[in-house]
Chain length 314, copies 2
């Protein structure tokens, strides 16, 4: 079986506070058509692709906050994406804010789904590495309140069989945590998709902000290389409600080489033909986990949360 | 306390089969003097710095194999390094092949030590991620028999307090395994040193070999960035006994930026003034482990060795 096909990253420019779900979905439908015309079988949309990046704002009113969340998926606004996927025979990955009643409690997650070529949801991930703060930070031009508005994901790092491969999802800040990549790779993921909204104007350190694009690409390239997986990273980018978001959407090979990269800070589709069997060059040599990994020496990773200047207690 | 000082990487060009330990030590002494003249307080030498990279050869005779190993440290040949360290007030990291009797058994390790400014051994690491094979691979111009000649390290990933900081050691191929870096970071390492002998002519895939330098730097830069640590990587390099070894010795900041890099494939000292407190910009924001890590989701890393297309069994 030849496992070689075109995949796409559908970068989105800014979404304003006033834009409706329909506005966003219409932009995504245009890009889905463009990708399908190139023969693409899979397209990755950004994190929180249906709204402006609302965690930058302090929102005190729960009813107002709730307006940023989806309570079902698909819903009337997003159904056209599912229908188009089926019509064009193209799978997709979509990020959105999820409000759900589970165990009698209302819960809020930063969520991504995989939708197959039949237009059916076949995988769901809820973001684990939420960045930012749960309390507003005084003196900042923009907040980053993901820890306030979302609960930490409760689905682990699932891998979904689809498109003759196994796909894992990460969301934005997850790319900086080698553990997430590795848990996906240990479940034989071959392709990782990741949407993001990454501001470069409010880490609190200008010199860190100045490296935001470099850090994004370094994380994607090392994540792909060290785990022998293809990756597709998709930005929402540009100047959104006064906050600057990086672009540089990228499709990266298991070699760590970027094979397609966006050039704008606007809606832009990038495509690449990927050979899923390319990873074997790495998985049979440097990264043959069975021959080389030494889990008995990794115990601290799953036992200790913080860095502590104390002897290994494992 | 200002924790800012000069550190050095002492890259070595090829060591021939005929070169003696004294030959190698003399080259290292020259570089130690050069570094000290620049005010350096710490110098990192390569992996297996006292001999040619003998795992490229099939050595059937145990007595012959044993000649490549050190049975004590310091020994008569290496004592001048320890004396010079004390005289110049400079610590060092040295890699060598270690033969030792432990529990009544003769054991062989690919080892690195830390020596403090008093010329005393204060830390030891034995390489865990041994690359290559335990049986000769037919048809190869060079072998890579580390798994044949060395046992997997049995000291875990220790961190040593020294030079107003905490130093971790990795060796060569370890840099490609995010787990090693992370176990060091979780013990509050702030500086990681790594010697290497990295051939770019025998992975079995030409296109992989062609990326050897890129993969080396990608591993060092991501290891430093994702763990908020300084790193010092030191090559043995050049055409050694017909095998091509990469250079690109590098000192890398917690930002992932390379601040010093070798330019030759010969003996070459590179220096950089490092600010150990620079890492706080990262450890207080993106990489605040205590706020962001989620060990309950990382269990597979320490439980499963191989990649398996099966449900998470944790």
């Amino acid at each position: 079986m030849i496992r070689k096909y075109v995949v796409s990253s559908a970068q989105m420019g800014p979404i304003s506070r006033q834009d409706t779900r329909q506005d966003c979905v219409n932009r995504m439908l245009e890009m889905m058509k463009e990708a399908a015309a190139k023969g693409s079988r899979f397209i990755v949309f950004p994190e929180l692709a249906l709204t402006s990046f609302f965690p930058r704002w302090i929102i005190e009113d729960q009813a107002e906050l709730d307006t940023w969340f989806e309570t079902s998926m698909p819903n009337a606004d997003t159904m056209p994406l599912f229908e188009m996927a089926k019509a064009l025979n193209i799978g997709f990955n979509l990020g959105y804010a999820e409000k759900i009643v589970e165990g009698g409690e209302t819960r809020y997650f930063n969520t991504a789904i995989l939708v197959n070529q039949a237009g059916e949801i076949c995988g769901k991930y809820r973001k684990i590495h939420l960045p930012g703060h749960d309390e507003p930070q005084p003196g900042r031009r923009h907040q980053h309140l993901e820890k306030r508005y979302f609960e930490q994901g409760n689905l682990g790092f699932p891998v979904t069989p689809m498109l003759d491969t196994r796909i894992g999802m990460l969301i934005c800040n997850d790319r900086r945590w080698p553990e997430g990549w590795r848990v996906l790779a240990l479940q034989a993921a071959e392709l990782v998709c990741l949407g993001y909204n990454t501001p470069d104007d409010h880490s609190g350190f200008e010199e860190v902000d100045a490296l935001a694009d470099f850090h994004h690409l370094l994380s994607m390239q090392s994540g792909s290389y060290l785990n022998s997986v293809w990756s597709i990273a998709t930005a929402k980018c540009g100047l959104e409600e006064g906050s600057s978001l990086i672009g540089n959407s990228a499709i990266t090979a298991p070699s760590g080489q970027i094979v397609a990269q966006s050039e704008t800070l606007e809606d832009e589709v990038i495509n690449a033909e990927i050979d899923l069997d390319m990873a074997k060059q790495y998985r049979q040599t440097f990264f043959d986990f069975g021959r080389h990994r030494a889990p008995e020496n990794y115990q601290l990773i799953s036992k200790r949360r913080m860095a502590l200047p104390e002897p290994d207690d494992t």
